[in-house]
Symmetry: C2
Subunit: 414 residues, 2 copies
């Protein structure tokens, strides 16, 4: 344990948690940007430098092997040793994670790909119908453990519903701030779970500003994307699952619809962790960030070679989960995409909606517009010969299409 | 094998399937009412007598024990030996089944129940967001195996979307007939999957009549509830899962929202099968059929002591899945409710919708109105002291509340 990790003023709190927990695999936290270290055991948002914090798992202490996972619970808590919730705190799971990696015989054939080369990771079958359940299933109990009683989150759509559900499950107060034109289904799920909802005349970053201004006075703990460290820990389980589902051989390409980027960053972290504990080798998939033309933050940054992606003015797309005009983790995404020899591309609303219809019709899944964007991106990368017929490919369907009634109404099938 | 089971005119077909399959655990089919037997190997709807057919599993040939299930796939195909799809036919799963049995600490406390006494079987996290995926995941490949290319189904809501999804997955043509005031989400999921949709000025039984009239001319195979034998086989996996999730000790009470009743009948069949193979004992849960006041078919029949429940005129309820005015399996439900020392009760729309809000707010699940009906029924049975504090209770949430935007709009939270 390094010195920086153990500042005297935090030692008492941390020791308390060490004593409480049967097994403690969290070494501490460190800043993704400046590396400054923080002790585990208190509510934390960003680093003093304003950048996101990473949870550092004590991988040397992880004694389990892949074969030990056999027969474990099927939700994301099967990877318990690498998750930050102390072992003596029982998660109140809603069944998050453990989503299927689906074969796509008909779709693969329509794209000229062979059977067994194209898979959909279907996150629609999570609680609250989206991948956001993973992050909130981790961040909410961690916040509760460290003393939070009121949670606040800005949301482009699905994160709000997920936060509301886990807040309800753990008995915490939930405050959700969403753009006023968010899909009705996202409002409904927050209402059902008893959250306090504020509709904002603006985008997710405007929602975040309101929370930042009010949180101290209101006593809210903020769960914004990458502004607290544990949503990444929930999302990283997508990486563990893909590795396990492919028998610990990662695929060649992952296409991922990117809003704030927690999933991309989380999966990349998972790959590193798994390599360090010897579960996988050094091979990495080429990571493809898929965004919408009206909010093309990461593709523009990759093209310009800039780690600071800035902000998209007047961001607009029917794929509400992609309507994230500024990403505090832009530099992390930039780095991992480069390291992986990946790329980023932007899809028009028309193409991504047709992609969603096609994905549903040829696989039977309920495709979100964001999933449709990945299919459209795959086609473009095939045309450019960036993806080859020999590649093993995963596209993410991040949520159920049922939440996007307005989008499907605006864009009927061609 | 009885003589009736092996009529010469079907022998060739059946032998073909015996030859194709590595393991064949289906003995044949028999009528739930008259007992007449049918060979396995062709498309079948009802018995000649007009009643539903049951799939008879050759339980004596099942050599696996519960411990053999450890480490198997998590979807409903983990019970492969007791399912009718021949072993050499790989199912094209969407991840159906394997749903969580959720603890309900906050809800249990609010009802004066102890921790660990009340569970929700949350079917919302199935593909297409409802328990209907289980039945269609079985019936569609069975229909395809036996030669069907065009499928038709009448649906009060969720069954249509599930059928459309699995038809898309297996590459079959889907025709869905729904009441014109079916929830918009149910229409949307059929559209996304590329199904042919007909909206009918009437209820599910009127939809069924249209299919009956047209199916021969159109070449449709009909997948109506209990009018083909394999949806029960998919639904029975709910019974297997509950047994396994409770470590092979069934709970004391199961509250189940009942439309056509495939789930009740399927679970009861599963209990019998499991007892015969020695996985569970003779104890059965008291089975409670929960319906809506505006469509109280089964409660009325139980009260009157009549196996023939007849039909509800002008059936009406906001819980669209319960709007089933006539049930061809009424006598089977009557018998199993009596055998189990169960009961049936009808809940008002207002109460069931408040139940859905309460279920969501106190557990974090996305409750359908039908799930809310079960919570309201539980409260009523507690008041009547029919349910005791010592009982272990399961209530079913059969689908995601997100599909019921209209219902929640009509009934705001109290």
């Amino acid at each position: 344990m390094s010195k920086e990790f153990d500042p005297p003023y935090l030692r008492a709190t941390f020791s308390l948690f060490l004593a409480q927990s049967h097994v403690m695999h969290v070494q501490g936290l460190s800043c993704f940007a400046c590396g400054k270290r923080y002790a585990f055991g208190t509510l934390l948002n960003l680093c003093e430098c304003g950048k996101p914090l990473r949870v550092d798992i004590d991988l040397a202490s992880i004694a389990i092997r892949p074969s030990d996972l056999k027969g474990r619970r099927k939700d994301l808590w099967r990877y318990r040793e690498v998750l930050p919730l102390p072992a003596n705190h029982e998660p109140m799971s809603l069944g998050e994670g453990g989503t299927p990696l689906l074969e796509t015989n008909r779709l693969a054939a329509s794209l000229g790909l062979t059977n067994g080369s194209l898979f959909v990771k279907d996150e629609a079958v999570n609680p609250t119908g989206s991948f956001k359940a993973r992050g909130m299933a981790m961040a909410v109990p961690m916040a509760k453990l460290f003393g939070a009683t009121k949670l606040a989150v800005p949301s482009a759509g699905n994160a709000g519903g997920a936060m509301a559900a886990y807040a309800a499950r753990y008995g915490l107060e939930a405050h959700v701030f969403m753009p006023k034109d968010v899909p009705a289904a996202n409002r409904l799920e927050c209402e059902m779970a008893g959250a306090h909802i504020t509709l904002v005349d603006g985008l997710i970053n405007d929602c975040a500003k309101i929370i930042a201004d009010r949180k101290d006075a209101e006593g809210w703990f903020e769960l914004s994307t990458l502004k607290e460290p544990y949503r990444i820990e929930g999302k990283k389980t997508m990486g563990y699952e893909i590795a396990e589902q492919f028998d610990w051989n990662l695929p060649d390409v992952i296409l991922y619809p990117t809003g704030g980027g927690t999933g991309l960053i989380g999966m990349w972290k998972a790959f590193d962790e798994m390599e360090q504990v010897g579960w996988i080798g050094s091979k990495r998939p080429r990571m493809v960030s898929v965004q919408a033309e009206g909010c093309n933050l990461i593709p523009k940054a990759i093209q310009a070679g800039k780690r600071d992606a800035g902000m998209v003015e007047n961001a607009s797309t029917v794929a509400s989960g992609l309507r994230v005009p500024k990403a505090i983790g832009d530099f992390i995404m930039f780095d991992l995409i480069q390291l992986s020899h990946g790329t980023a591309l932007a899809i028009s609303d028309k193409e991504l909606m047709q992609g969603a219809y096609e994905l549903s019709e040829l696989t039977g899944i309920s495709a979100a517009p964001e999933g449709g964007a990945c299919l459209a991106a795959l086609k473009e990368l095939q045309r450019d010969r960036w993806i080859q017929a020999t590649d093993k490919i995963v596209i993410f369907n991040t949520g159920t299409g049922l939440k996007y009634a307005e989008a499907f109404k605006s864009y009927p099938r061609n």
